[in-house]
């Protein structure tokens, strides 16, 4: 039995890896490459000095946001925990593994040497997530949908209110201008804002491009083609240098606003093209059916066409959302200290000169986790809407 198993393993190797001299050469080459990568890149990671991450964790997460106001950032995370928990509770009956692993991860973080405030908030967040998971079920199903959609739409206004603040310096939530925002906090705010704005603007541009009114069509087409013909870096520089010149000096917008305008303009144009593709997938007969029922054009768009377009476009939209998230890393070149900006700031500190690769690896890990969870969530939504399993009907 044993010898037979060994034999079959030997034959498997022979058949699949060493069947010809070319295959043998390829096998050896690949093994050599893998070994080299493992020896030179992966194994050294374990022996690296990762203290740079711990020392600069606050900087990486929030940039130069005042340390005594960090509870405001934690408050936003608590909001996300509560409604993240609710969203899981909406979609699953039992606690799903992903959800449990997130909670366990947060629990393990408690054993790292964080400040008392952080530990307290970690505990609160775990509790809020569980609370949200079970609390949402007390509502009828239609109210649940409303609560979840409303909560995620309000996330950004809530974040802006809490992070920016609204009182004078002595007050309970003093204003903190965008110059102090940085790190993951800034990256997240910028990508969420640009996703939230470029979605409706892109939709309007796409509808405008299909319009029968020549002027509107011309303006929308010109905007889309101009923006799409220029790299994002150029648009960021234009925003950075030209917007202040174009506006009166009293209205001098911060670098944050200028970057936002550039990124939103850029992604709106791409979003518009995505939507255009979605619109082209709807057969003309759907418009005719709506026309014969006397539905006006706006009603046809909202009731008949858009629901079908949006449903078909979820995969494309998600991939452009991840694109938006990664593209925000470019804002570091106009002096904003987002994740990448912070990493180069840390690298320029003589104390951490040798730890550059650790910082970059950590950034890569953060981006990977974010993008991977977005695409995981989109797979779930696609399955729930039945996009992957069955087509939306014959007609």
């Amino acid at each position: 039995m044993d010898s037979k198993a060994k034999n079959s393993a030997f034959f498997w190797l022979r058949k699949n890896l060493f069947s010809s001299w070319l295959n043998t050469l390829l096998t050896i080459g690949v093994v050599w490459c893998v070994a080299a990568v493992a020896l030179k890149a992966i194994f050294p990671m374990f022996s690296m000095d990762w203290s740079v991450i711990g020392d600069n964790l606050k900087l990486i997460m929030t940039g130069s946001y005042p340390a005594d106001q960090l509870w405001r950032v934690w408050l936003c995370i608590s909001y996300i925990s509560l409604f993240g928990g609710s969203s899981f509770g909406y979609g699953y009956r039992k606690l799903p593994i992903v959800f449990i692993s997130i909670l366990i991860f947060q629990f393990l973080l408690l054993f790292l040497p964080f400040s008392l405030l952080s530990k307290a908030f970690l505990c609160i967040n775990i509790a809020l997530a569980l609370l949200g998971f079970y609390l949402i079920r007390l509502f009828p199903k239609s109210t649940q949908t409303g609560i979840i959609i409303g909560a995620w739409l309000l996330l950004l206004p809530f974040t802006f209110l809490v992070i920016y603040g609204f009182t004078d310096p002595s007050g309970f939530m003093p204003k903190i201008t965008t110059n102090y925002w940085g790190g993951l906090l800034l990256s997240m705010i910028i990508s969420l804002t640009s996703i939230l704005f470029s979605f409706p603007i892109g939709l309007l541009l796409a509808i405008g491009r299909r319009s029968n009114l020549k002027l509107i069509k011309l303006i929308c087409t010109a905007f889309i083609e101009l923006v799409r013909g220029v790299p994002l870096i150029t648009i960021l520089f234009i925003g950075y240098l030209i917007i202040p010149l174009a506006l009166p000096s009293s209205l001098n917008p911060s670098v944050f606003i200028r970057a936002m305008i550039g990124i939103i303009a850029f992604h709106s144009a791409y979003m518009a093209e995505n939507f255009r593709g979605g619109f082209q997938g709807i057969p003309r007969t759907q418009y005719e059916a709506a026309m014969s029922l006397n539905l006006s054009k706006p009603k046809t768009m909202i009731l008949i066409i858009l629901p079908q377009v949006l449903k078909r476009m979820i995969p494309v939209l998600v991939s452009s959302f991840t694109g938006t998230l990664k593209d925000t890393s470019l804002i570091s070149i106009i002096g904003l200290l987002d994740l990448i900006g912070i990493s180069s700031a840390i690298a320029s500190n003589p104390k951490y000169m040798t730890s550059n690769s650790q910082v970059l690896l950590f950034m890569a890990l953060i981006y990977f986790i974010l993008c991977y969870s977005i695409s995981g969530a989109s797979n779930k939504i696609e399955k729930a809407l039945g996009i992957t399993t069955k087509q939306a009907g014959k007609s």
């Binding site: 007969t285 029922l293 006397n294 449903k311 939306a392 014959k394």
Partner: protein, 252 residues
Amino acid sequence: MTHEMNKELIIECENVHKWYSPEFEVLKGVSYNFYKGEVTVIIGPSGSGKSSFIRTINGLEEHQQGMIRVNGIELTHNVKSINAIRGKCGMVFQSFNLFPHLNVLSNITLAPIWVNRLSKKDAEQRAYELLERVGISNHALKYPGQLSGGEQQRVAIARSLAMDPQIMLFDEPTSALDPEMIKEVLDVMTELANSHMTLIVITHELGFARAVADHILFFDQGKIVETGTPEEFFGSPKTERTKLFLSQILHH
């Protein structure tokens, strides 16, 4: 001619021309009067302009010359006149054109709620009555993709009826159906005809035409070649073109 005097005129067409480009004229002067409560079947070879003709009546396509008047309202480019006419004409398409993202009930209630401003409750009650009438009330909550072609077409008929039209236009309603489903759709149409609704039907189902039609129009090359009652038309066709067409269809 005298018997037509006491009938109520509902659609008048006078010298209707339609072209996509000067070389491609699909309607070359069509004149015909449709009367209330009558069933008119339009037959003709493909490309003869019969489909363009009834799409023009509904304002789905524009005519370039001539006059169409529905229920006394002239069809112009004016949105108001088009909307008023569409409110009178229901249309059923060859490929059903149901809204795939809505269930059967919502497909039917959508326009009554959003165009005629009916309350949801009234619209749904009416929808169930209509589904009963076309014989598929047990499928109200299914989606179009879950229904057979015949069932989808009957939903499409119910969807048009929900707008309380005076005229129903059928554009080859059974051409996309499997043979065993054709009858269920034709039965619904026969029932409509018996309830004295004005129907204009493009079809190749000559049995249906013979049994139900009051008048038959034969279209060829953008013109009405021959008109008559089913007996006249099938019994003693006048023109050579009609004879040829009928012999081709009947021997097929």
